[in-house]
Structures are given as C-alpha cells and as structure tokens.
Symmetry: C2
Subunit: 248 residues, 2 copies
Amino acid sequence: MKSVNTDVAYEYIRKRILSGEYAPGKSLMTEMLAKDIKVSRTPVRDALRKLEADGLVSIRAHLGASVKKMKLKDFREMCDLRLALEGHAAGLAALNHSETNLLEIRYALEAMRRLTEEIIQAPQEQPLLGELVREDVRFHIAIITAAKNDLIKKEILRLHLINRVQVVLMPTGKVPKTKIESEARRRAILAKHDDIYAAIARSDAVGAKKEMESHLMEWIDHTMFLMTRAETGMLARDLTPDELAYNS
Amino acid sequence: MKSVNTDVAYEYIRKRILSGEYAPGKSLMTEMLAKDIKVSRTPVRDALRKLEADGLVSIRAHLGASVKKMKLKDFREMCDLRLALEGHAAGLAALNHSETNLLEIRYALEAMRRLTEEIIQAPQEQPLLGELVREDVRFHIAIITAAKNDLIKKEILRLHLINRVQVVLMPTGKVPKTKIESEARRRAILAKHDDIYAAIARSDAVGAKKEMESHLMEWIDHTMFLMTRAETGMLARDLTPDELAYNS
DNA sequence: TTGCGTTTATTTGTATACAATATCATTTTT
DNA sequence: AAAAATGATATTGTATACAAATAAACGCAA
C-alpha cells in the first residue's frame, strides 16, 4: 500500500518533525500539508497514520493530527522500555557478534574518543558536539545490529527517533556546569562506552547487559533532570513567532 | 482520525484474523471487505494500515494486504523480544505491585491450579483446556499490569496477539506424548507459575525476572518444537477448500 | 509444446466532492 | 452580566470516480 505519493508525504512530514520544524504539539492539518506537498489529502492521511504508528504523531477522531507531545510519565515509560530493549540487545550482541560488527563498534568508539579529546580542548565548538552525538548513535546502532535481531533493532530505532524529537530539541545551553564537571562527565561516559565494548568483545552477555543498562540509566537520569527543569511541562521548546503565526 | 466506520472495519477484520477465519497468508482485498462491512474502501484501507502497525497484516504497494505469515526466523525474533519485555515487566512488577495486583495474580493462579487438577483427572475435556489457557493469559496480564508501565504493557499485549494468530491456530493434537509426561509437564508449569508469583510477592525483582524468563524459554522451546514439526513452514493450518477457491 | 510479447482484467493508489462533526463567535435568554 | 443556545466556519471522515500498476490470459512464433 506504500505508493509513491504516500511515501513522499511520509518522508516530508517525518523529516520536518525530526528536524524540529514541526515542534511537538503542532497541529498537522491534512489540507494544508497536501497543498505544501502537492498531493491530495488521501496520501497525507496515510502518511499521518503511519507516523502515528511510529509514535511521532498522535491522532484523535475529528480533531486531526498533531506532533506527539509527551507527558513526563510517558517519557519515563519510554526510557524504561528502551532500557529493557537496549540492555537485552547488548547481551545478544555479546553472544552473536561477528568480527565485522566488532570493527564497526570499535570504529565509532575511536571516533568518539578523538572527538571527546578535541572538545575538551576547545569546548565551544558546536559542530564537534554534533559529530560526537552522531558517533554515539553509530556506536549504539552498531551494537543493536550485532545483536542479530531485526525486530528488536527496528523497535529500538523507533524509540531513538522519538527520543530525538523529545530530547534533542530541548532548550540547550541552560545547564550551568563547571568546566571540570563537564570534562569529568565526558571522560566517564567514554570510559563506560569502553566497558560496554569490552564486555561484548569478550562475549560476556551478562556484563554487556549490565554495562549498557547502567550507561542508559545515567543518561536517563541526566535527561530527566534537564526535563524537569524545563518547567513548561514536556514541551521541547516554545514556539517561535513564525510558528505561532503559521498555526493561527 | 479514528472515525466510527474506520473502527468498525478495524474490529471486523481484526476479529476474523484472531479467530482464524482469515488464516495467515489470506489476501485482504479492500473492495471485497468494503462490501462485506458495508462501508467504502477508504475506512477499510485505514483499518488495514492500523492492523499493519499492530503486526497482524502485511501490506505491499500495489499488491494489497494479507494476513501476516511469519517465517520461522521472524517468529524466533518475536519470541526473543517477548522474552526481554515480559522478563523486564516481571522485574518491575516485583517492585511496583499493589495489593490488588497481587490479588489478581493469585486469583488467576488458583484458577489455574484447580483447572490443572481437573484436566489431569479428565484429560479429554477440551473446554477445560480453553479455560486453562484463558487463566494463563490472565496471569500474565495481571503481572504486566502490576509493572505499572502502560507502554510496555501495550507492547507485550501486541506480541501476545500476534503469537495467538501464529501459534494457537496451529494443528493441534499432533503431539504424541504419554499421559505421564503430559501430567508432569502440567504440574511443572504450574509450579513455575507459583515461583514467579512468590518472587513478585516478596519484591524480588531479580528473581521474578529470572523465573519469568525461564518460564517463557520453556514455552518457546516447546512451541518451536511443534512449529518445526509442522512442515508447511509457518503456515498455521492448511487452507480449507473454500478459502482456496476464494483466493484463486 | 514452450517461450515470449501483447492485451485484458483486476486491484490498488489518488483526487475530489460531499457529509458529519467540532470549534468559535454571536445572539438570546434568564 | 452570565449562561445557554444558535449559527457560521473550518476540518475531518466517507464515498466514489478515475489513473496507474500488477497479474492473468491470450496469441503467436520457434
């Protein structure tokens, strides 16, 4: 049923949700989207339905679709789910990895090590941070790939995307932190990644799982802390004037 | 976007997939379904899309929808996913359960105990077996409810349904097994349920998780054995002549 | 008979018109 | 003036007609 136009609409909307152009809560009206994408409402509706299944959009009868806006409870539940899945995947990776898988993981790990050092040298470089995040994602994806379970992989990737919408788009730079703290944290995270890799490489399923779980727990705690500070509930960021105008 | 007619179509098709009337592999043509349900093709298409998200239907562009037919690999992956989620849920249940939750679990457990004994007395009674399965499901659902994570609960329930389509509708009664073996297995399973309950009741998260995992592993092994014996690959059962005629 | 190319028929994908429903502003009533 | 009722507007849900694509049927040549 994935026809060309439906796919076009799907990619169009999805891309804008992930980039933050469509912020959480923004209402997605079929007619308007159809006009922008230059297709009819039908494939737009299909696309919205698929995005709902992905967990990026919520739809209510007769009220239309909007970019999903999570409550703190929902976010916590999602983190817990991710913890369970990604921990399990790490365990599987320890058992099922191939040499190539290990290489992939190591590759991302070394890139992270290099970038971490560079960032500690020059903490103001924004592009480096972006690269670090990308390599971190590569690291995690390499692990769930090594687990050799496509279904679990698909599920985790889904959660990663939702996370990205809810977390990455949050107000940045609001975290007062000393240089020392920040340095220490970066090094600690890198060390944890080393531990995860080591456990997988020595085929220690229990260890890999434990390391991954504690790593994610640290991340979750940290993120939750940031979120509770953003007192607007769970709205990732305030709408810009443009977006407000666009909505009205 | 869930309008009345879309919901009607969704329930109609879903019910028939779960009951086995629409067997795995059966093609679901929109026009025909629309005629049966007495709505237009549009809500039928919506319903099929939602069923695809549930994992009960597979859709390919221009080729239409069909009831999902799993390969052995897919089934194994799904079982692994269920293992991870339901194990995790058991651990959470040990930590988060209320008195009422425990009561629910115990209730299902006692019903299972009673039915198991009755079945061992009169092994030929089919309705008793059905009741036992139902109570088993209640037991598991009570546990994932006690875990207090709606997202994980939803996910596990989804997997249960898929399992039901793929497993419960398999050819039955083909398993040559002595009365003694069968009795012993029933008692062992019941004992395992007792262990799971005990671990949860004493708030032993690690134990609950372990017990649940080993219980599911036993079930998975057993089911896999049955499946590999059904040499038709993963087709739940052969199509009836009517269904064949209908498909051609 | 078999293999290939063309044609036909069926089924899906898309657009669009219409109907049903929710929202918002206005008016009416208390 | 506040609350309720009413109506206007906008947006979704549904049906249907048409276009595109696939699969089946057919014919023809080797």
